[in-house]
């Protein structure tokens, strides 16, 4: 037996490696650096690694390789696009995370304990959230570029585990925050068990763990179809859980609400990109030829998800929960890109993911600004008259909502148009109709929020809008600019995506 050393293409893997390196440095900083210097150091390290990784992604944008890590990782156009999207979203999310106001000073302390109070008074903020973020981003980068089941599973856990912890770091309403961490963790682990079980059956079906191997078996036929189908079904459970599709969505409203808002922003935007990226890759490459078996199932899920998300969002009274249900509805829209199974669908999905991710971070960034003495105010009734008090903040939020609603001249419209036309092209007319219907329903609650902000008189209950920090401002402004720019003049980005978006198999 010849034991050959693994050959790794470090250039292609560098974005992930940089992040992991940064994360490790962060851990060391957390352990050894003096408390006073920690926040700024952590922030610099984190941003530095993210920017560096982004630069690396840019440099490898025209590379294509199946063998970056012995066949476990594939770097191609979509990989670059998705990684770049994740990194950009992460960077602007980190700007939000940098506002320590949202995070508990000492996660290990009991809520309301003397210990916690002491930590707060002395300003000794622990900053573990930065390395956790980097680990999660590294996992997210790996998730859509994995090309075998092991890597995929590891990446899934790598992105999930830090997020479980981050969900529990909120400074206010700590019990709820911890509860959201617990829920996220238990359900996440539960779904990853399904994922793993499905992976086992795929391995059993094809005798291979690589996507290419599975694809060959599907194309060639001959394997035990039952294994394939169980595999696809259970693997899908894990993926659909991550994207928040009905009926695997239940965690997201609770977790979105309980988590510190910057984490929610990061999680909502970046996780969606990563999970859909992985989903697109595996469905477009490995499962493409078994289309007959999963298209009906995904179609039904997509339709149910769109309608469910839109309908329940109407009944929400909390802005974060509303955005969570909105994100469920958007998962439904995005699923139509998976179902489309054509190049247009892939391009549209990537554009949609990027546009939606940016707008989502922007939207949650606004949520972080609306506060009273006890922290963020997420009760929608207390957002009344926001447009009067802070017209610009309210206008920006309205802009993001309009983008979510898919109103023309925002990025959301281009995304919706492109993804629905891709789905229609593939013959999934029912999805288009359901999509249109649920968009109409969804418009209702987006507009209701606009009404609350602009057309309702303010209530005097101490709700006010924080003057945004420089970093938060950058996030909001950047998101707004991108949202509008992609709506008015999307051609460069669409062309860029179009040039790159082809999976190599």
């Amino acid at each position: 037996m010849v034991f050959s050393a693994p050959v790794l293409n470090y250039t292609l893997l560098s974005p992930m490696l940089i992040l992991l390196g940064g994360a490790l440095i962060g851990v060391l900083v957390e352990a050894f650096m003096s408390k006073a210097l920690r926040p700024i150091t952590q922030l610099s390290v984190t941003l530095g690694s993210l920017v560096l990784a982004l630069v690396q992604v840019w440099r490898i944008r025209n590379e294509q390789s199946m063998t970056a890590a012995m066949g476990s990782v594939v770097i191609d156009g979509p990989a670059v696009l998705l990684q770049a999207s994740i990194l950009i979203i992460s960077i602007i999310s980190v700007f939000l995370i940098a506002d320590t106001e949202h995070f508990t000073a000492l996660a290990a302390s009991l809520p309301g304990s003397e210990e916690e109070r002491h930590a707060m008074q002395t300003g000794s903020q622990v900053t573990e959230v930065y390395p956790l973020t980097l680990f999660a981003v590294a996992g997210m980068l790996l998730f859509p570029v994995s090309s075998d089941l092991i890597t995929l599973f590891v990446a899934l856990e790598m992105l999930s585990l830090p997020l479980y912890l981050m969900a529990g770091l909120s400074r206010r309403r700590r019990l709820a925050s911890q509860e959201s961490a617990l829920k996220y963790f238990l359900l996440g682990a539960f779904s990853s068990a399904f994922f793993l079980f499905g992976a086992a059956f795929l391995y059993g079906y094809s005798a291979s763990v690589t996507f290419a191997g599975i694809r060959e078996s599907v194309v060639g036929g001959g394997g035990n179809d039952v294994f394939l189908l169980i595999g696809i079904a259970f693997l899908s459970v894990g993926l659909l859980f991550k994207v928040g599709a009905v009926p695997f969505h239940a965690w997201s409203p609770d977790v979105y609400q309980g988590s510190p808002t910057p984490v929610t922003a990061f999680m909502a935007a970046a996780t969606k990109v990563a999970a859909f990226g992985a989903m697109l890759r595996i469905y477009y490459t490995s499962f493409a030829n078994a289309q007959w078996s999963w298209t009906p199932m995904l179609t039904v899920i997509a339709i149910v998800t769109m309608l469910f998300g839109s309908l329940v969002a109407i009944a929400q009274r909390d802005v974060k929960r509303m955005l969570a249900y909105s994100s469920i509805a958007h998962a439904g829209f995005l699923l139509s890109g998976v179902i489309a199974l054509n190049k247009a669908g892939l391009e549209a999905s990537i554009f949609y993911l990027f546009a939606y991710g940016i707008a989502t971070v922007g939207g949650f960034a606004i949520v972080t600004l609306v506060r009273d003495s006890a922290g963020e105010v997420t009760d929608l009734n207390r957002w009344k008259g926001l447009g009067k008090r802070s017209p610009w903040v309210a206008a920006a939020f309205a802009g993001f909502l309009l983008s979510f609603a898919g109103i023309p001249l925002t990025s959301g419209f281009i995304g919706k148009f492109s993804i629905f036309s891709a789905a229609y092209e593939s013959g999934a007319k029912s999805i288009v109709i359901a999509g249109v219907l649920s968009s109409a329903i969804a418009a209702f609650f987006y507009i209701r929020v606009i009404v609350l902000m602009f057309f309702t008189d303010p209530v005097e209950d101490g709700t006010s809008v924080e003057i945004p920090s420089a970093l938060t401002s950058i996030t909001v402004i950047f998101s707004m600019v991108v949202t509008i720019a992609l709506g008015v003049f999307p051609a460069p980005v669409l062309n860029f995506i179009s040039d790159l978006a082809t999976f190599i198999r």
């Binding site: 599973f153 479980y164 019990l175 238990l186 793993l196 609400q257």
Partner: protein, 99 residues
């Protein structure tokens, strides 16, 4: 012995685990049920490894164990924190966030 029987066993274990998650209240027990599901998956991997005649499945099983260990670390941390805050490890008590 027919390798398929191991698959049935694996499926049974998985089902037991899944049902356990739904019916048990204690967070630790719920978590153990999940571990049971992971191990059912491991069993399936190993069985398929045997059926397919390669080592990939067994390798994955090792990976899974490592990952499961990581999960334990994170999971226990969360559960312990919750327990300390609430003096209860019942998952039903943690239901502040709803609707």
């Amino acid at each position: 012995m027919d390798a398929a029987n191991y698959l049935y066993l694996s499926a049974l274990l998985f089902t037991i685990g899944a049902v356990g998650v739904v019916v048990r209240r204690n967070a630790i027990v719920v978590f153990m049920c999940i571990e049971l599901m992971l191990n059912a998956a491991n069993l399936a991997f190993v069985t398929f490894s045997r059926i397919n005649g390669d080592l990939n499945g067994q390798v994955i099983a090792f990976f899974t164990m490592v990952v499961a260990a990581c999960e334990v670390v994170v999971g226990l941390a969360i559960i312990v924190t919750i327990y300390r805050s609430r003096r209860s490890a019942s998952v039903d008590d943690a239901s502040l966030l709803k609707r």
